[in-house]
Amino acid sequence: MDSVIERIQKGNFWQFHGGIHPPEQKFLTSTKPIASAQIPEQLIIPIRQHIGQAGKLIVNIGDKVLKGQVLSTADNPMSLPIHAPTSGTVSAVQSMAIPHPSGLSETCLILTPDGEDTWKKRYICPDYQNLTKETILDKIANAGIAGMGGAGFPTQVKVSTLAKIDYLIINAAECEPYITADDLLIQEHSPTILDGIKILDHVLAPKNILIGIEDNKPTAIEVLKKVTADIEHIKICVIPTKYPSGGEKQLIQILTGQEVPSGVLPSSLGIVMQNVATCFAIAEAVISDTPLIKRVVTVSGQALEKPQNVWALIGTPVGFLTQQCGYTNSQDKHLIMGGPMMGFSLPNDQIPVIKTTNCILAPSEIEIASPFSSTSRKEVECIRCGLCADACPAQLLPQELQWSAKAKDQPQLEKLNLFDCIECGACAYVCPSQIPLVHYYRVAKAEIRQQKLLDIKAEKAKVRFEARKLRLEREKIARAEKHKKAAEARKARMNAGTPAAKSEKSAVAAALARVKAKKAQSNSNDDKTIDTTVTAVANESVEQVNDSKSQVANAIARAKAKKLAQQNQVKLESIDTAQDIALQKPAATSQVETAKASDNKVEPKSSPKVSDKKSKVAAAVAKAKAKAEAKKHQSEDSANAQEPIEAKQVKRKIDAPFESSNENVHPDIVVQTSTADIKSNPIEDKKAKVAAAVAKAKAKAQAKKRKDAATTQAEEPVVENPVLDSAAVVNVEKAEIKPAISESNNKPQADEQTTTTDDKADITTAKKAKVAAVVAKAKAKSKAQNKTKATEAEVEQKAVKNNISNVQKSGDRYTQSPEHNTSSSDGKVSEQVITNNALSQENQLPDLTPQNQQHLEKTDKPKSADRKAKIAAAIAKAKAKKLAQTSQSATETESTVENEIDNSPSKKPATIDEQKKARIAATIAKAKAKKLAASSKNSQPSE
């Protein structure tokens, strides 16, 4: 047996099975030169014109683009860029009908040409031989070249195959009966095509290059023979005319006798096939730096006065081309994109020409009868004549496929190798029963694909469902365990009989009260009823447990707040009432009116009454807690119930205010800590009021339905609590606060405020203030990074300053003011504030840092304060950044905490006392961090 090459030289080719001989209509266009189409008024450029994904648009509406300018970029190998076919303005990006059998719409870019056709700057590269393979591939990819024979497979993917290539086959067969685009291209531009072939030769280095061309194109054959005469390994293979010899698989079989195995690319056989037009485009792209912006389109059909080939810009509407060629048919119009065998009908004539469009066919009624005409014949039953099986180039059994397709027997269809059908249409062409076989296959293929997708989806859903079930199971177990532990712990403490136990009892009572409140509220929808019930219940508990008023208040407020959160239709009044109740109840000795933020007095003037203040703080705490509560799932409610108890326990054990904190993840505990702090420092009734206001603001924020605002504002108050706290600890003098506030009233920006206050502060504080300013900036940044819309929040803060009469905003302002106070009076404090702020905002997890530092600072000497402040600031910055980057990862928190602990004690001037304390703090911090990590792990999956 001869080798492939010998056979080809002799002109002996293989044959593929089947095939048909539809009537030739190439004479309509094959003798006329390629005309140059004018630039239409509008170009519609689909973003995706090939098989694969669309690129990303990089121009905007209104942009002026030059001819050849890149309009979209490819971000993966299967996507290709598109280019401006002419210079003009991008007038729209919208969904338009694209050239697809479905007539569906996809994103298209509308370009209004300016008529000047100005090129972008091009770089001619005459010596492609010196280019590396990669450069050429890049050039091909950047020119947006996709297979121009019809399928539109990205060329650079096809060419960048790693397989060893024996044959490069240039497909010039063009077997569709009407199309002459390649024929004409060869006749007129064979040198360029040859360049393209040479470039491919350079890239692929195949042993042989075969140009397959049907024998009905004598001129083209002649021309090709002439240009390739002196090249040894290029063979012109003139093959007999038969449809569909231009099919990739068929042409390979004809030329090499090999069959491409099902589901495998030809490159595995060492064969790469390229269309002639693609070669032309490659040459253009590599040598003259011209992207694929125009192509030869055969505009043919007997309904046209002057059918011809035209150079059409990509994006030219079909109607424009047919009009130029004298489309006269006024009866039922039928436009086909592609050939008569494999092309598809167009739903209108505003469909653009794309990279794969090789033909526009406007047939007359005689050529292709429309379904409305009387001469058209209808589909009848299959008589199993087998003509289709004889014609099928893939040796399928079309009639059996058709039966199975009608019966939707998908397994059988796959058994009959439906997916090896190339949809050439030969079977339907020969069918005496006029059955649109190909259409049946297409539907069946689409259905099978859909079914496969569904199967995959079902499988995924199943996995997810199983995973969820597992998770729920795990959570249930974890919860049960937690309950059990907590119950045991409580029991143990109850039995201890210490004063702490008492307080625990009260906590239990509070929990009870809350539960009751919950029940009550679930029974009724009326706000007032609930309020009263809650009050009653709370009062009861107050009476029962005298020493834990605050907690009762907690419970009530929480219950209420929760309800509010649930209903999400909170009225301002109801909140106010709620707060009133919360405030009034524990504090029989009033001062409530001042606390009620309705009168927006910033200056805290109330006398230092411990109980009063406490109660207010408690109210704030309650609010905060309520919020936290509302955020949690029901599953965590029970866990929440334990929190006060745990907090108390810690407090009892370690006899320091800061240590009492942060057993838990929830912000309410932080507030609790602050409560404790405030208790220990009996001056801060003012702060308490502020806290109350904060709470109110928060509640209001909650009432706001809009999500962004809700989030931001809701978080802010929580953040502020430690601020107050620290402020309290540092013992800010009222005298100093007042000017600060007045300052802050005038200056909207926090930074500016700090700088202004600088002047008034002494030299040391000035320094610190600067540090604080830096930190504040950092905070702002991290805020911006975070999803909580910091900008909005700031804007709101500004607004707060301007509009004091607004209740809600006054609340905000309260929260703002202590911050400024501290920053002006004491840098350290402001740092803390900021740190806290940043931390809590990013994390929502209370950190022990404030307490830790706070403690240190308390014991500090003024001279060392400066330095410490800097350190703290640095730490805060680092932390803020880190936290901004990470999510609520507990490990991060832990490491930060540890980091801090490492840093702060070492740099501190070492008095024994301090060292000790620092160590304690460190240990506590560590322990806490660990706990945090554990608990957040638990709570995370439920988020």
Binding site: P22, P23, G263, I336, D420, P432
Partner: protein, 354 residues
């Protein structure tokens, strides 16, 4: 005015199922002519009777099933069935045989399965077999060739016989069939078979008057006529060459082997080819695509099986001619043959049968 949408391919070979059917019907003309020439008007009458019945039956069923009547009625398949049945019936069979057979063919064998394209059996042959089994006497009362008849039978005579059983002269079918010599005439195949049972050799029975010079008076010409029609169809590519070739070849081989083994008890191969309904079966019945195998390989097997069965039943079976039975048996096995003879799809290896 609007754009209209169609699925590709947009152009189409100008062929039609009904045209195909018509062509097949035209191709039967030489055979029918020979039949008329040698056996008189009988078959023509049966054919027209069958065609009318078929159209009525088809019309009834189609209207019952609310299908497109005009289109399906004239797709030619029912008429073709009727023609084939009319051809294969004995010339002097009574009229009700034709009608029963045609109704059975159209209603039961064709339409109950869903009409054209769905019937697993060849309607004409199934009806023939049904008639043969149900009315053996009428169905075996073959009329001898006209030249051997004692009396002259005209068109009116035939009509009378078919519709009343007697000629206007009062002769019964039996009487007509009786040879001048008083022998009852039969088909050549029947003669050979009967003679064999009587202990005569094939050569001896060849001398019987009904067989004539070659393989039977008239019969060889009828078969030749159908062969001609078949070749016409082949040239027009209305039928595929595989089935007839394989059938005739298989019959040839079988009979040749038998002839070699025992020339006395076996008829010659040519005798098998040119008697009975061999050519009719080969070109018009086995090639019915609906009830046959579809792939090339399948058709080869299908034809060969039919040839084997024809020979077996002719040689050993109780019935003189076997084409109808063989066709039915092959129809039965066609789906199975199809299932196991699917061609290898492009790009799939032979062994890899999914």
């Amino acid at each position: 005015m609007a754009f209209w949408i169609a699925s590709s391919p947009h152009n189409h070979q100008q062929s039609e199922t009904s045209a195909l059917m018509r062509m097949v019907i035209y191709a039967t003309i030489p055979g029918i002519f020979a039949q008329w020439y040698f056996f008189g008007w009988g078959n023509l009458i049966h054919i027209s009777l069958a065609v009318i019945t078929a159209i009525i039956a088809e019309f009834t069923i189609l209207s019952l099933r609310k299908k497109q009547i005009t289109q399906q009625l004239f797709d030619g398949s029912a008429i073709l069935t009727a023609v084939l049945l009319g051809i294969s019936l004995p010339a002097l069979a009574p009229w009700w045989v034709t009608i029963t057979g045609t109704v059975f063919a159209i209603v039961v064998v064709k339409q109950l399965y869903g009409g054209l394209g769905h019937n697993p059996f060849n309607p004409a042959m199934a009806a023939y077999v049904m008639l043969l089994i149900s009315f053996p006497v009428q169905m075996t009362s073959w009329q001898p060739p006209l030249s051997l008849l004692a009396m002259d039978i005209q068109l009116t005579d035939t009509l009378y016989v078919i519709f009343s059983g007697y000629t206007p002269q009062g002769y019964s079918v039996e009487q007509i069939r009786t040879h001048i010599d008083g022998f009852t005439m039969a088909t050549p195949l029947d003669t050979v078979k009967t003679n064999l049972t009587l202990g005569l050799t094939v050569v001896e029975s060849m001398e019987a008057p009904t067989i004539g010079k070659h393989f039977g008076v008239g019969w060889e010409w009828i078969n030749a006529g159908f062969l001609l029609g078949g070749l016409f169809l082949l040239s027009k590519k209305a039928i595929h060459w595989t089935t007839p070739t394989s059938f005739l070849f298989s019959l040839f081989v079988c009979s040749f082997i038998a002839f070699i083994i025992s020339p006395d008890s076996s008829a010659s191969t040519m005798f098998h080819w040119f008697t009975g309904a061999t050519m009719l079966g080969a070109f018009f019945i086995l090639t019915d695509p609906v009830s046959g195998a579809t792939s090339v390989k399948g058709r080869l097997i299908f034809g060969a099986l039919a040839g084997l069965l024809v020979f077996l039943i002719r040689k050993f079976g109780g019935y003189p001619d076997a084409v109808a039975f063989a066709v039915l048996l092959c129809n039965m096995s066609a789906p199975l043959i199809d299932q196991y003879t699917r061609p290898r799809t492009y790009g799939h290896q032979l062994g890899e049968k999914k």
